[in-house]
C-alpha cells in the first residue's frame, strides 16, 4: 500500500525538467493549479492533456507511472464525481429514476470535476517526481526567505522538512521492528472490528513515540556538536542558480496559459 503512492515520490532521471531550478518548478506548479481551475471547455482540457503529457515525455517519466499513483485516490475522485452528477440542478433532465436525477449540467460538471482533479494531481506529482526532496526543500527555503522579515521562519521550515524526510525510512523500519516484537509477544493486529484494531495500535505507537523523542534529543545534540546555530550566516554546498532553461520554461508555460484562455473564448463546448 505504502509503495503504491507515487505522489511525493522522486523519480530519478536525467532530463531538462529534472534540471530546472526547483524554485521555477514550484512557482510554475502554483500557477498551473490556478490555470487548471480556469479551463471551461473540453477543448481546453485537451490542451491541458497535451501539455501535461508532453511535460511527462520531456521529464522521461512514464505516464503509466503517474497514472498508477492515482489508484489510491480514485475512490475520492469517484465520490466527487457522483456527488456532482446527482446533486447538480439546472439544465435538461436526461435521466430520472426514483430520487436520482441526472441533468446535462450535472453530467458536464461531473466530467469536468474528474478531469480537473486528475490534471491537478498529475501536474503536481510531476513536481515531486522530477525534484529530489533536498532540492525541493532548498527551493522552498529560498522562495520563503523574503518573508523572513514578516516572521516566516524559512530556514527552520526547510530544516524541519529535511529532517522529517530523513527520518521517514528510519521510523518505518523501527515501526516494522516494533510490530514484529509485539507480535512475538502475542499481540494481534489483524482481527476484530475497527475499534479493536485501533486499540491494537497503541502498543506500537507508544514505543515509537518514546523512541522518536529520544532520537530527536540525540540528533539535537549531534547537530549542536556540528556547530548548528540556525540559518544565520549559513552557506550551502550546492547553491541554486537560475539558468537559461528556467526562462525558457516560463516562456513555454506562458504560451500554454494563453492557449488555455483562448479556448475559453473560442469554444463553448
Amino acid at each position: 500500500m505504502i509503495t503504491d503512492i507515487t505522489i511525493g515520490q522522486f523519480f530519478p532521471a536525467e532530463s531538462v525538467i529534472h534540471r530546472l531550478d526547483p524554485r521555477t518548478k514550484i512557482l510554475l506548479v502554483l500557477v498551473y493549479v490556478v490555470v487548471v481551475f480556469f479551463v471551461k471547455s473540453f477543448v481546453g482540457y485537451m490542451v491541458l492533456a497535451l501539455f501535461v503529457i508532453s511535460c511527462c515525455a520531456m521529464a522521461r517519466v512514464p505516464v503509466r507511472f503517474i497514472l498508477r499513483g492515482l489508484k489510491p485516490i480514485m475512490f475520492f475522485i469517484l465520490i466527487t464525481a457522483l456527488f456532482n452528477l446527482f446533486l447538480t440542478s439546472g439544465g435538461v433532465i436526461i435521466f430520472h429514476w426514483w430520487i436520482f436525477t441526472i441533468t446535462d449540467e450535472g453530467l458536464r460538471f461531473a466530467v469536468f470535476m474528474v478531469l480537473r482533479l486528475l490534471f491537478l494531481i498529475m501536474g503536481t506529482s510531476l513536481l515531486t517526481l522530477t525534484t529530489s526532496p533536498i532540492l525541493l526543500t532548498d527551493g522552498m527555503e529560498r522562495l520563503l526567505s523574503p518573508f523572513g522579515k514578516i516572521g516566516v521562519p524559512a530556514h527552520e521550515i526547510s530544516m524541519m522538512m529535511t529532517i522529517a524526510l530523513r527520518f521517514i525510512p528510519t521510523l518505518l523500519e523501527e515501526t516494522d521492528k516494533i510490530i514484529k516484537a509485539q507480535s512475538a509477544r502475542g499481540a494481534d493486529f489483524d482481527s476484530g472490528n475497527l475499534v479493536r484494531r485501533a486499540k491494537a495500535m497503541v502498543p506500537i505507537l507508544i514505543p515509537l513515540f518514546i523512541s522518536s523523542f529520544r532520537r530527536a534529543d540525540e540528533l539535537a545534540t549531534a547537530m549542536e556538536c556540528r556547530c548548528y546555530r540556525g540559518g544565520k550566516n549559513r552557506t550551502r554546498l550546492n547553491k541554486l542558480e537560475y539558468g537559461r532553461r528556467d526562462a525558457f520554461a516560463w516562456l513555454i508555460f506562458a504560451v500554454f496559459t494563453a492557449a488555455v484562455f483562448a479556448t475559453n473564448f473560442l469554444f463553448a463546448f
Binding site: 529535511t162 530523513r166 525510512p169 540525540e218 549531534a222 556540528r226 556547530c227 550566516n233 554546498l237
Partner: protein, 287 residues
C-alpha cells in the same frame, strides 16, 4: 597552532542533581587528563563509569561543576567561544542514525561546514576530502538509509572531519554495530590517527579496540584508575577484573596459562603475539 595539549582537564568534578528527589549524584571525581596533539587515547570503563560524561565535557555539551576543561587552550565554560570549541573538538556518537541530518550523504557531510559559513568551493573540497578519507566517496550521492551501520558511522565520522577539527572524540562508536562494522570503524579511526595525524579519543568498553591506542585511560566509578600504555594496562589482569572490566581474549589466555604455572609473558595484546608465545613454550617443552 595552540598549545601542545589539545585537551587539558584539570581537577575536574562533575555532578548533577535530580530535580525530583533533590539528590546530588557525583559522576566524575578529581579528573586530571592531558591529551597531546596526534595522540590516540582510548578511554575504557564499564557502563555507568562516567566515560560518556567525560566525552561530553570535552566539547562543552556539559560544563564542569568544578575544575576546568581546556580545548586547545579555550576554557569550555566560556560560552562566547562555544562554536570555536565545537569546531575544534569533533564528536561522533553511538547511534549513526541519530546524527545524520540530511537525505544525501554528501549533503550531510557538508552540514557542519555549512553551519560554519565556509564558502561553497571550500565546502566541496572538504566534503570530498572527508569522504575519501573514510572511504565513502563512491557513496556520496547515496541515501543514508540504504547504507549499512558501519558505512553510516563512517559518514558520521566524515561529517565531523569536514569541520577540520583538531581532535575527534568518539563516544562508543561501535556499540550498535555488527562485528564487521566494528572492524570498519576501528580501522578507519586508527588510519585517521596514523596517516592523517588526527588526535583521537576513543571511548569504549571493548578491550580489543583499546589495544590499538597509544594510551589507555581506565575509568571506574568516576575516577581515573589507570593511565598507561595498552601493554601495561592489560598485563594487570587481576586489577582490571576487580573493577569489572575484561581483557582482550589473547591476554586472558596468556594470563590463565601463566596462572597454571606456564612460563609465558602476560603482556600479549593480540592473537599473533599470543600464538608466538605459545609456540615458544611448545618448542621449549619439546627440548
Amino acid at each position: 597552532m595552540g598549545t601542545d595539549d589539545i585537551i587539558k582537564i584539570e581537577n575536574l568534578n562533575f555532578s548533577y542533581s535530580n530535580s525530583e528527589t533533590g539528590k546530588t549524584t557525583e559522576v566524575l571525581r578529581n579528573i586530571n587528563l592531558n591529551v597531546r596533539r596526534g595522540e590516540f587515547v582510548a578511554v575504557l570503563g564499564h557502563n555507568g563509569s562516567g566515560k560518556s560524561t567525560l566525552a561530553k565535557l570535552m566539547n562543552a555539551i556539559l560544563t564542569p561543576t568544578s575544575g576546568r576543561v581546556l580545548a586547545d587552550g579555550i576554557d569550555t565554560a566560556d560560552e562566547d567561544r562555544l562554536f570555536d570549541i565545537r569546531s575544534r573538538v569533533g564528536m561522533v556518537f553511538q547511534n549513526p542514525d541519530n546524527q545524520i541530518v540530511t537525505t544525501i550523504v554528501e549533503e550531510d557531510v557538508a552540514f557542519a561546514p555549512e553551519n560554519m559559513g565556509v564558502p561553497p568551493a571550500e565546502i566541496r573540497k572538504r566534503v570530498d576530502y572527508a569522504l575519501k578519507t573514510v572511504g565513502m566517496y563512491e557513496f556520496r550521492r547515496s541515501e543514508p538509509h540504504h547504507l549499512s551501520g558501519g558505512q553510516k558511522q563512517r559518514v558520521a565520522i566524515a561529517g565531523v572531519l569536514a569541520m577540520m577539527p583538531d581532535v575527534i572524540v568518539l563516544d562508543e562508536p561501535t556499540a550498535m554495530l555488527d562485528p564487521s562494522g566494528r572492524r570498519e570503524i576501528i580501522n578507519t579511526v586508527s588510519r585517521l590517527n596514523r596517516e592523517e595525524g588526527m588526535t583521537v579519543i576513543l571511548i569504549t568498553h571493548y578491550m580489543d579496540e583499546a589495544v590499538r591506542a597509544d594510551r589507555v585511560v581506565v575509568i571506574s566509578d568516576g575516577q581515573i584508575v589507570r593511565d598507561a600504555s595498552p601493554r601495561e594496562v592489560f598485563s594487570q589482569v587481576d586489577e582490571l577484573k576487580k573493577i569489572g572490566l575484561d581483557v582482550p581474549q589473547a591476554t586472558e589466555l596468556a594470563y590463565l596459562l601463566s596462572k597454571d604455572g606456564f612460563d609465558i609473558k602476560t603482556d600479549v595484546l593480540n592473537a599473533e603475539e599470543c600464538t608466538s608465545e605459545i609456540e615458544r613454550l611448545m618448542t621449549q617443552a619439546r627440548k
